[in-house]
Amino acid sequence: MKQSTKWIIGVIVAVAVVAIGYFVLKDSSDISAKTIKIGVIAPMTGDLAFMGEGIRDAILIAKENMGNTKNRYEVIFEDDQLDAKMSASAANKLLSVDKVDAFVTFSSVTGNVVAPIAEQNKAVHFGIASDSNVAKGKYNFIHWTPPSEENKVLIAELQRRGIRKLGIFKGNAPGAIAVIDDLKEQLKDTNIEVVTEQVFNSGEKDFRTIIAKSKDSGSEIYLLLAFSPELEILVKQMRETGITTPITSIENFEMSEQLDLFEGEWYVNSADPTADFINKFNTKTDKSPTLGAANAYDIFNLIVAANEKVEGTSKPTSDQVVTELMKITNFSGALGNLSVNEDGIIVSKAAVRIIKDGKPVTVGN
């Protein structure tokens, strides 16, 4: 190798190290000590970027509508592409460079990676995740309607309709697995039976064989747990195969861009985002709220509320904020009246909804 090449490489490496070092060690004292910084880690790039963008927009809406507060609030967004090592990098960057006081994360993977980091550094962490592991530890919280809550509503509705035989199609993903594991547990005490359970990996496009496998199971309804586009392809291929059995889901229908595929079908969803939130989101983004957007909106407001309640003139500590968070009951959020339980899980309700004329409608509780 030529001497000149070595020099060029040396210079590039040196510049990179100095650049990162500069940002890390940069004195951030220009911001007043009473600014509460919130770091948000979500997929901002890649195939699921639209979800991360929905979360970003929801938090920005919450921030714009915050009103007068005694503390200042600042939000920093970081991308992790839903990759564990990138999540850890993002969390460390937010801690060291931005010196955040609180984290908001999206997905079970990110939540599981960030939770121990938050705990160790005494930073409040809210996960938008179904995996209850994410809430382990003093500083970790979850805002996601728990699978058990959604399953209760699902089972009640199945019983009301006299359905005895349930067929399941599930994508091999953390959310779906958490829901189904809990559902099977709860079904033990009922007369409802799971007659077929088909699993597929994300990225699968050909469901015809697993559909054929379940066709003679006698299912009276199929529970579909899949994200777009697998969900739409699955439904289309089911219809092509001549299956007219009703379908239902937990959460997934509303995230589809093709609601007409599910016309007339009922499903369970975490409690309605309030009309107020949906309006605000529509006005800002021209879209309906994406998965977790309403949760992110609530989380920001909860963090603000807890920080504001801490008395005194100095900046609230994480311990004080946690104490205030644990006291919260009947907080009026985008997902209804929220309370925090002893595990640090925000309890929100689930509701039965139906797609009517291409729009989701709640059918009472």
Partner: protein
């Protein structure tokens, strides 16, 4: 500061992966795209041992190495029949199968939910929950791997490997059992990847299958191709570049979907240009 330590730990882990893969790809001339499988087996062994039994970190590390040695021996025997692009394809397939096992053997690996709550090691009263201590630990393993690799490539064993790379038939004529040489270096390389996997699992404290997909094998391959094949320092350089690059981009600012895709376009073009004008990588000594 924590951030720099964190990046240093990631860099050390990926440098370990790069150096070990270079033994197979750069020195022996076998294009293996399955390093993430061994990395993953190492990580899962540590994760499962530490969360489901009372075994300590170092025993779990050794168990991981033993399991990987057995599996890589079997895979290596199968691979001994192949060369060139067929070799690459079989390793590709092997990675896909191991990934499917991580994802679907739920009783053992917890499937896509992943394994949370993996503990950090503790030894001689030193608690490696502290990131700086952990960096030192990772560095010690890296130095061991690096010097072991350097010893291998400079030994007579290493010279045979390079001869296999240049002309396998010729060296076979001299009576060298090239198959056993290829098998041994493959196993050594896999065992080193298992060490990196153990470190990764106990550092992040949570693992899930998505960290060990085919794309991860390609990422490690990109590290050594960029840095330079047949040059151990090249792998260190490659790891430094590819770990730091996305972090620098955090400060340059992105946020839209398009910027990330632009990055992919740039990655692709760099690969093409590298192959056109510098197929041996930045400081490499061997062209594929």
């Amino acid at each position: 500061m924590e951030y720099l330590i964190h990046l240093a730990i990631l860099f050390v882990i990926y440098a370990t992966l790069g150096v070990s893969l270079n033994l197979v790809v750069g020195y022996t001339g076998l294009l293996s795209v399955t390093h993430a499988a061994f990395y993953g087996i190492g990580a899962y062994t540590t994760a499962i041992f530490l969360t489901k039994s009372g075994v300590g970190f170092f025993s779990s590390l050794v168990s991981g190495i033993v399991i990987v040695v057995v599996i890589s021996f079997l895979v290596g025997v199968v691979l001994s029949k192949f060369k060139g692009d067929y070799y690459a394809l079989v390793t590709f397939g092997f990675n896909a199968i191991i990934f499917a096992v991580f994802l679907n053997w739920q009783n053992l690996t917890n499937g896509s939910l992943g394994v949370p709550g993996i503990s950090r090691p503790e030894l001689f009263g030193i608690n490696f929950a502290n990131n700086f201590n952990f960096l030192i630990l990772a560095l010690i393993f890296f130095v061991l791997v690096y010097f072991a690799s350097r010893f291998i490539v400079n030994s007579s064993f290493g010279r045979v490997l390079k001869a296999i790379r240049e002309d396998e038939t010729a060296i076979a004529v001299f009576g060298y059992k090239t198959l056993s040489f290829k098998l041994v270096v493959f196993i050594i390389s896999a065992a080193m990847a298992a060490v990196a996997g153990s470190l990764f699992a106990s550092y992040i404290t949570f693992i899930d299958p998505s960290s060990f997909q085919l794309t991860e094998s390609m990422f490690i391959l990109a590290i050594i191709i960029l840095g330079g094949l047949g040059n151990l320092r090249g792998s260190i350089l490659g790891a430094l570049f590819l770990i730091l690059l996305p972090e620098i981009l955090r400060f340059v600012g992105f946020s839209s979907d398009i910027d990330a895709q632009m990055r992919q376009v740039v990655y692709g073009i760099i690969l093409i240009l590298l192959m056109l004008y510098r197929p041996q990588g930045l400081i490499g000594e061997y062209k594929l």
